[in-house]
């Protein structure tokens, strides 16, 4: 295929943008009659805008792209020549989006995503900015045949925007930041036209009680933040649709002024995660993400996020439709009470350390507290940390359902992740001295998708082997599990150190069962319960299938 140019209408877009950037200067000079020294922000905007438009025209003139059988290549650049290529079998997602100016001219920016999560860092994205709507659709079909086809027909609609979701997105700490951004922007806009909001506020405050002023400021702040959040959410997610295309890919389309559409191939999906912020759990607020290979976890438009923040019921029903199984709605096995004990001890220690630190720091700097104040400080901290411990404990849970490993945990955010078992590419088991005393262990399933590791915190030590081996075929974890030693007896080239752990008895018991089971190659389930009671298949009346 030959080298192709970007669409000519990009120049028109640049002209429009340059013209828009001149507007503030025109108003400042023509309407308000300001001197350049007063209107300098407008001049900065104008210079930046025109420069950027000119640079973009240069980019248009130098950029070429082509799609061969093996790869997609883009090259260009005026001063620095850049070439970038992506092998076509490494393409993980193809997306297209358009800003308002692009849409006016019928243009789309096509984004090609590839790369590994975690190992390689961020997803390498290749952007073709911009081509006509028809070319964009053609590229889409060419690069991602699985996702080809017009936006809606044939697709199974999995979820769509509901206005009630807006409520779920107003409740956020980010509101404060976007509120601050709005106020800052407003202040500078005011300065541009010679209005100083700060001075004005100081004049108004003159004589008024400071408490009222503060209250009004805080309320105004919160209101502005909420408006900012609602506006941002609606602009990004209006008319959100999640569809499964006929060719087996999940497509989201969304946006009020700027429409974004992202396709994710279903065969790369390894599982899903639903996260519920504890503070809003009573409202059922949930974030839904895909666990998938080749999509950066942090990219907000590119793929992992499959639903906007919304009610947990929608999250669960959508997850069931996507996974084809209701694993994320089924009950999990809770962590043993020892896990709660561990957290309560930690909470006690935190409270003690916190109290001591507070008293020491205070003694050094202000001296307002006396050791007697520990009488209220320590209980207060203890209540808080104990509440945290109980909350964290109640989050814990794990299960193996339907070929999925499901783990749940989290103090500030309760996250439930379901990971397809064949996607597990290794195991880590951690056990501290105290965990060993309490009969607990932490099991970490490593995977190439999503976060790279999914953790079952503080499960009963006796369940570890069972969980690790609950793999289809189980061959990955096999050398891990005690059966090896059962067959082999004792490690060969090492004299066994005197074992302090009471393992020996099992080895003997299980050995008999192991031989019985080994005849037909059946695995024997060796489970140890607290109190060293050995339960083998034989006890249960014959070898069980492992």
């Amino acid at each position: 295929m030959t080298w192709l140019r970007l669409d000519r209408k990009v120049i028109a877009v640049d002209l429009v943008r340059a013209a828009i950037s001149l507007v503030p200067t025109a108003i400042a000079a023509g309407v308000l009659g300001l001197q350049p020294s007063d209107a300098w922000p407008a001049l900065v905007v104008a210079v930046l805008g025109v420069t950027r438009a000119a640079a973009d025209v240069a980019r248009w003139a130098t950029t070429r792209y082509r799609i061969t059988d093996e790869r997609v290549e883009v090259r260009g650049g005026l001063f620095t020549r850049k070439e970038r290529w992506i092998a076509r079998d490494r393409i993980r997602s193809v997306g297209s989006d358009a800003r308002l100016t692009h849409r006016l001219f019928g243009l789309r920016v096509v984004t090609v995503g590839a790369g590994l999560t975690g190992v390689a860092g961020a997803t390498a994205a290749l952007r073709i900015d911009a081509v006509s709507t028809t070319t964009a659709r053609r590229l889409h079909e060419l690069l991602d045949p699985a996702a080809a086809g017009p936006a809606q027909p044939d697709g199974e609609l999995l979820a769509r925007f509901r206005p009630s979701w807006i409520l779920y997105n107003v409740l956020s700490i980010w509101g404060l930041f976007s509120g601050a951004g709005l106020i800052w922007g407003g202040y500078w806009l005011g300065r541009l036209f010679g209005y100083d909001a700060y001075d004005h506020a100081r004049e108004l405050a003159d004589g008024a009680p400071i408490g009222w002023i503060l209250a009004v400021a805080v309320l105004g702040f919160a209101a502005i933040a909420s408006i900012g959040l609602v506006g941002g959410f609606v602009a990004a997610h209006w008319d959100f649709r999640l569809t499964r295309t006929a060719a087996g890919s999940l497509r989201t389309t969304q946006g009020l002024l700027r429409t974004t559409s992202v396709d994710r191939e279903e065969h790369r999906i390894r599982g899903m995660q639903i996260s519920q912020p504890q503070a809003w759990r009573w409202l059922g607020v949930a974030d839904t993400t895909l666990i998938t290979t080749g999509v950066s976890l942090w990219s907000t438009t590119g793929g992992a996020t499959i639903l906007p923040r919304g009610p947990v019921s929608v999250a669960r029903s959508t997850a069931t439709k996507i996974l084809g199984s209701d694993v994320l709605t089924r009950p999990l096995r809770p962590a043993p009470p020892a896990a709660l004990r561990r957290r309560l001890v930690k909470a006690f220690l935190w409270a003690a350390v916190g109290t001591t630190a507070a008293l020491l720091v205070d003694a050094r700097f202000t001296g307002r507290l006396s050791p007697a104040d520990a009488a209220w400080l320590f209980p207060t901290l203890l209540v808080v940390s104990t509440a945290g411990a109980v909350l964290a404990y109640r989050s814990l849970g794990h299960a193996v359902h339907d070929g999925y490993l499901v783990v749940r945990s989290g103090l500030a955010t309760r996250s439930t992740a379901a990971l397809r078992q064949p996607a597990v590419i290794g195991w880590r088991v951690k056990q501290s001295f105290f965990q060993r005393r309490l009969g607990l262990a932490t099991v970490i399933a490593t995977t190439a998708a999503g976060q790279g590791a999914y953790v079952a915190h503080d499960i009963a030590a006796a369940e570890v082997a069972e969980l690790v081996r609950a793999q289809p075929g189980g061959e990955q974890a096999e050398p891990f599990v005690d059966r090896r030693r059962v067959e082999r007896g004792v490690p060969e080239d090492e004299p066994l150190r005197a074992r302090s752990e009471p393992v020996r008895a099992d080895t003997v018991h299980a050995d008999a069962a192991g031989e019985a089971g080994a005849d037909d190659g059946v695995l024997v389930q060796v489970r140890r319960e607290p109190g060293d009671q050995v339960q083998t298949g034989r006890h249960a009346g014959g070898p069980e299938l492992g």
Partner: protein, 163 residues
Amino acid sequence: MGDLGLHPPRHRVAPRAVAWWTLRGVLGGGIPLIAALVVFVSVESWRPWLGPVLVALVVLTAAHAAVVPSWRYRVHRWEATDDAVYALSGWFVREWRVAPLSRVQTVDATRGPLQRLLGLATVTVTTASASGPVQLVALPDAEATEVAARLTATVGRTAGDAT
């Protein structure tokens, strides 16, 4: 009570690993110690509180160097079969790691300056997961080379796309 039903890997690490861990611990603790000592000698007004800190540093470094290396040696074990690499490490917190060879991407053998001095090497086996590498720490030099070569050959023969 806390037994996991996991068999310990077959091989211990090289006995010289104890020397390596001790050296590393002494150097790691010794550098801040020397820095603190220099300050103690030169800044007179800090002595009242720096004195106890110095004593604590000395005691901690000495205790760490005395206890941890041999503790580690008792815990650390490794095994490489035709199907998987398997390592047990840690001291206060023990960690078992297993990676099936069908999912392995790279095998490295590394030797730090201290390790070269003692004739030791560490074999690192990475998978497609960022949190999955299995490290066989402090093997005898020749054995590390042999294990790395054997693993690389086995990985080459094993089909799989490593994800």
